[in-house]
């Protein structure tokens, strides 16, 4: 199932940002994902207000030296992974 660029991702119930030993982590049932660099930038924008397309545009600006299409593919892949982990909900 592809990710709709106009949908707005937000953290699912029981999923939240945490911190340990100065490391940002995404906490969820029985799991914790370490957030570094772009993954933190993405998750911080999963607030139910940014669309997927806006998140892509933001990160293409931040990582302007990277190939824009690769940035988009990486972000969609990461969002899909978080969705399958049930860490994200998407609203229209």
């Amino acid at each position: 199932m592809a990710i709709d660029p106009n949908s707005k991702p937000q953290l699912a119930p029981g999923v939240r940002l945490g911190e340990n030993n100065n490391q940002r982590v995404l906490l969820m049932p029985e799991r914790a994902l370490r957030l570094i660099g772009p993954s933190l930038e993405i998750v911080q924008r999963c607030d139910g207000k940014h669309t997927v397309a806006q998140i892509v545009a933001d990160l293409q600006k931040i990582y302007s030296k990277a190939e824009p299409h690769k940035v988009e593919t990486d972000i969609l892949g990461y969002l899909q992974l978080l969705r399958d982990e049930r860490a994200l909900d998407f609203t229209a």
Binding site: N20, A32, R86
Partner: protein, 365 residues
């Protein structure tokens, strides 16, 4: 040692051994801790703080039944204040909507409801109590509330055929995760092993159904399951490796590397009332005993998989091979695998009538 030592990630908190259920496969030790010996809220608060400082991210509140603690709301608040993510692993009893609201207001992150079966009659046969209808009520209460929900179905011979009904319960709930957990044959489960082990035919059908569900639910509900130990080719990395990721605190404050470790003779467990969590984690005798690889025998010692499964379960090695340092006998490379196969050979006839021979878990004084 200390340089390569990982921080524990999860703190399993057996808040009490008291429980309204009497499940025949309970993971608690056969010797249960009495109410009078339970840690106070102040001691637990100190444990949470020390755990967070050690690097622990998640606290698993379990028991017994954690809701049997009258100070459960304060316990959740204390764990959150220490910075931990709080999982509640519960039978859903005793609970009402007002109590649920107070748990959530205190900061509960994740509600994990355990099921003995998909129907009342089998659930009663397994737990010795009528609680299934209450669990279904709890699922309704959870629907409008903002909290992560996991359904945990414990699988065994009496319910493995109910996979369809289990999935239907999950689908009609607000769960984002469903966990199919196999009975672990230590403690009470070991005493009832012959009545609980599924047949090969049951397991094969279950695996087909659960794989289909995993695909169907993708993006909606995360489905988790593993092949049960006795039917697997290799052992599981029990607890993610001994003294590697998990620290368990028993109701009276003993620190254990796993739920069942008390079955291993000669292991001495240190207590959080007497020693710091860091001291226990880094140099406690029980945590050191099977940490790393020095304790391993052949075939583990020279096996390529030793860094993947860490030799499997120490308690299972003791119970089946009679030696806690042996290779987990479920491993196809173990010289004791024949003992597991002999047990399996004895149970292949499907059992249709309820068993009256279960040994039910008792309650502590």
């Amino acid at each position: 040692m200390t340089n390569s030592l990982h921080s524990p990630l999860a703190l399993v908190c057996e808040l009490t051994h008291r429980c309204p259920l009497h499940c025949v496969y309970c993971s608690n030790p056969r010797e249960l801790a009495a109410r009078a010996t339970e840690l106070s809220i102040e001691s637990w608060a100190s444990v949470f703080k020390q755990a967070a400082e050690l690097g622990v991210l998640q606290a698993d509140f379990t028991g017994g039944e954690p809701l049997a603690r009258t100070d459960i709301v304060e316990l959740i608040r204390a764990a959150r204040a220490a910075g931990l993510y709080v999982n509640l692993i519960t039978s859903g009893l005793p609970l009402d909507e007002a109590k649920l609201d107070s748990l959530l207001a205190a900061g509960l992150d994740h509600f994990q409801l355990s099921f003995q079966s998909a129907t009342e009659s089998i659930a009663e046969e397994i737990s010795g109590t009528k609680t299934h209808a209450q669990k279904l009520r709890v699922l309704e209460w959870l629907k409008p509330r903002r909290v992560a929900v996991t359904l945990n179905f414990v699988l065994h011979r009496r319910n493995l055929h109910q996979i369809g009904e289990m999935l239907a319960i999950a689908e009609s709930s607000s769960a984002t995760r469903v966990e199919f957990a196999n009975v672990q044959y230590c403690g009470w489960g070991f005493a009832n092993r012959e009545h609980l082990l599924p047949t090969r035919a049951q397991l094969d059908q279950f695996l087909i159904d659960v794989k289909a569900a995993e695909e169907r639910f993708r993006g909606k509900i995360r489905v988790e399951y593993v092949v049960p130990d006795y039917y697997a080719k290799y052992p599981k990395p029990c607890m993610g490796g001994w003294g590697r990721k998990v620290m368990l605190i028993s109701p009276n404050g003993d620190a254990l590397p796993c739920h069942a470790a008390a079955v291993i003779p000669g292991l001495h467990f240190e207590n959080v009332r007497e020693k710091s969590m860091r001291e226990i984690w880094e140099s406690g005798e029980a945590f050191q005993k099977f940490r790393g690889e020095a304790w391993m025998q052949e075939p583990c010692k020279s096996c390529d998989r030793r860094a993947q499964d860490f030799g499997g379960c120490r308690c299972q090695a003791l119970l089946i091979a009679g030696d806690a340092s042996a290779t987990d006998p479920v491993c196809s490379l173990s010289p004791n695998r024949a003992k597991v196969d002999a047990v399996l050979a004895g149970i292949q006839e499907p059992q249709t009538t309820p068993s009256a021979e279960f040994l039910y878990r008792t309650n502590p004084s």
